[in-house]
């Protein structure tokens, strides 16, 4: 079967070049589809990474009633830890809070004489999932001894909205663009099969199996898909780097952390390769099905 493999590859490449313009168009459209798909997926991925950072850094502060004694205030820890969605919970006494406050504003002598008694004991809580932040703050409000909650809900809600929109758009686009790519590659291969219909008929007549006839077209689709994936990967890399540099140089967006492409190129390459292969082979199988009914 080795000689058949080379025969199929040779025929597949020949098919691809026999309709150069259509192959070029199919590759162009598939590259566009893959890059659009990749861009939205990478946006969703980066937003998700920033959300994780936010999750790590963004703490909810739960202030303790100043009428409680130090012991009573510390005793709340067990109760707070039991709340769902609380990843960790640290007690910060009013003295520690004052120290950190002074440290933060150490250049300003204005605050140096402040009495820690004006502050409250507090708990610093990290959450497991920012999606459920409002549920957790509601639960905190019901705990006896907790009088005030401070949570930067707006920032996390903003990130969540971007992530969810990017997620929905990328899934929708993936579905639509996959269908478009399969359709385009399928039509390119249909053109080849139409051009070679006499040849197919002769092969059938001399006893070629459907599999034998199918393989060169499958290889053609595979080559179209893989070529598209390779070009799309290169283009995605350039685009990603340009956008990352743009964000890094932007005054308003530079706080966002963009994952370096070098850290994610392997999964991106695999995803593009797999999608390219699926689209190419799917397109070719769709195209040749009806030509095999001889």
């Amino acid at each position: 079967m080795k000689h058949n493999f080379f025969y199929f590859i040779r025929e597949g490449i020949g098919n691809m070049f026999s309709h150069g313009f259509m192959s070029f168009a199919a590759i162009g459209i598939t590259v566009a589809c893959l890059v659009i798909m990749g861009t939205f997926s990478l946006v969703a991925y980066n937003v998700n990474e920033n959300l994780k950072d936010l999750q790590r850094e963004n703490a909810v502060l739960a202030f303790v009633d100043e009428n409680l004694s130090d012991e009573e205030a510390k005793a709340l820890q067990t109760e707070l830890e039991k709340l769902p969605n609380v990843a960790d919970c640290t007690f910060v006494s009013r003295e520690e809070a004052m120290d950190s406050y002074l440290e933060e504003y150490n250049e300003d002598d204005l605050y140096s004489d402040l009495d820690p008694q004006i502050l409250r004991h507090r708990y610093v809580l990290h959450l497991k999932n920012l999606d459920d932040m409002s549920l957790t703050t509601d639960a905190l409000k019901t705990v006896d001894g907790i009088v005030k909650i401070r949570a930067d809900q707006d920032i996390s809600t903003g990130f969540l909205t971007v992530r969810n929109i990017a997620g929905v758009i990328s899934i929708t686009l993936i579905a639509i663009l996959l269908i478009v790519s399969v359709f385009i590659i399928s039509n390119t291969i249909k053109l080849t099969t139409f051009d070679r219909r006499e040849e197919i008929a002769i092969m059938k007549m001399v006893g070629a199996t459907d599999g034998f006839i199918r393989w060169p077209f499958v290889y053609e689709g595979l080559l179209l898909g893989l070529t598209s994936a390779a070009f799309a990967f290169g283009l995605q890399w350039l685009l990603y780097r340009a956008i990352a540099e743009g964000i890094a140089n932007s005054d308003t967006l530079q706080l966002l952390r963009i994952v370096p492409f070098e850290q994610i190129y392997v999964p991106v390459a695999i995803a593009f390769g797999v999608v390219g292969i699926l689209v190419g082979v799917g397109g070719s199988l769709t195209a040749i099905r009806r030509f095999l009914r001889v």
């Binding site: 079967m1 092969m203 006893g207």
Partner: protein, 227 residues
């Protein structure tokens, strides 16, 4: 061996192509299948190659029952039959060698087998040295010889020629028929579908006459004898 027993073929559009025909062709026979257009000759070829299945009756081709054959076995039957067409059906953008190689590739032949078999078959049909030429560079008679070479290249036991001389002048037609007779002498069963009375009369072979889907004659001799 080919055997048709009470074969009826009615197409989906209601056309009764064959109305209960029976005949048998032994291995190594040379048979003319004659009849006017629309008589059912092409349907018989399609039954032999598995392009259509009979509505009723039995069709046996080289050990395969075409009435109940599984789709995946049809290529195996076709490998036992070499088909020649009136319009040659050569691929014009492939050389003679590549046209023949295509047929060998299709049945999974290796490179060495292809390179040794093709010159042999071309010599057999009297076309040595044309491997690198394209079909359009050859005469009609030569193109039909290439088509015969392609039918022979996989060494089938049966050759079915569908109006093989329809596009040729009388002299070239006679040459082609003589070549088919020679191939038959080498052991292959040869079935020639034609309506060229003059040509049939020049060969003292078995003639099966078909008209309106029924056999109207089956004996050795001339077209008239068949009628």
């Amino acid at each position: 061996m080919i055997r048709l027993t009470d074969v009826v073929k009615t197409y989906e559009n209601g056309t009764d192509a064959l109305q209960g025909i029976s005949f048998e062709i032994e291995d190594g026979e040379f048979v003319f299948l004659v009849g006017p257009s629309g008589s059912g000759k092409s349907t018989i070829i399609k039954l032999l190659t598995g392009e259509v299945i009979p509505t009723s009756g039995r069709v046996m081709v080289n050990g395969f029952s075409m009435s109940i054959i599984a789709e995946r076995q049809i290529p195996l039957v076709r490998r036992t039959i070499g088909v020649i067409f009136q319009d040659f059906r050569l691929i014009s953008n492939k050389t003679v060698f590549d046209n023949l190689a295509l047929a060998m590739h299709a049945v999974g032949a290796g490179r060495k087998a292809i390179q040794s078999r093709i010159p042999y078959v071309l010599e057999l049909v009297g076309l040595e040295g044309v491997e690198k030429r394209y079909p359009d560079e050859l005469s009609g008679g030569e193109q039909q010889r290439v088509a015969i070479a392609r039918a022979l290249v996989n060494n089938p036991s049966t050759i079915v020629a569908d109006e093989p001389t329809g596009n040729l002048d009388p002299a070239r037609s006679l040459e082609i028929m003589t070549l088919l007779e020679r191939i038959n002498a080498l052991g292959a069963t040869v079935i020639v579908v034609t309506h060229e009375k003059g040509l049939v009369d020049q060969f003292d072979k078995r003639v099966i006459m078909i008209d309106n889907g029924v056999i109207t004659g089956d004996r050795v001799g001339t077209y008239e004898v068949g009628q």
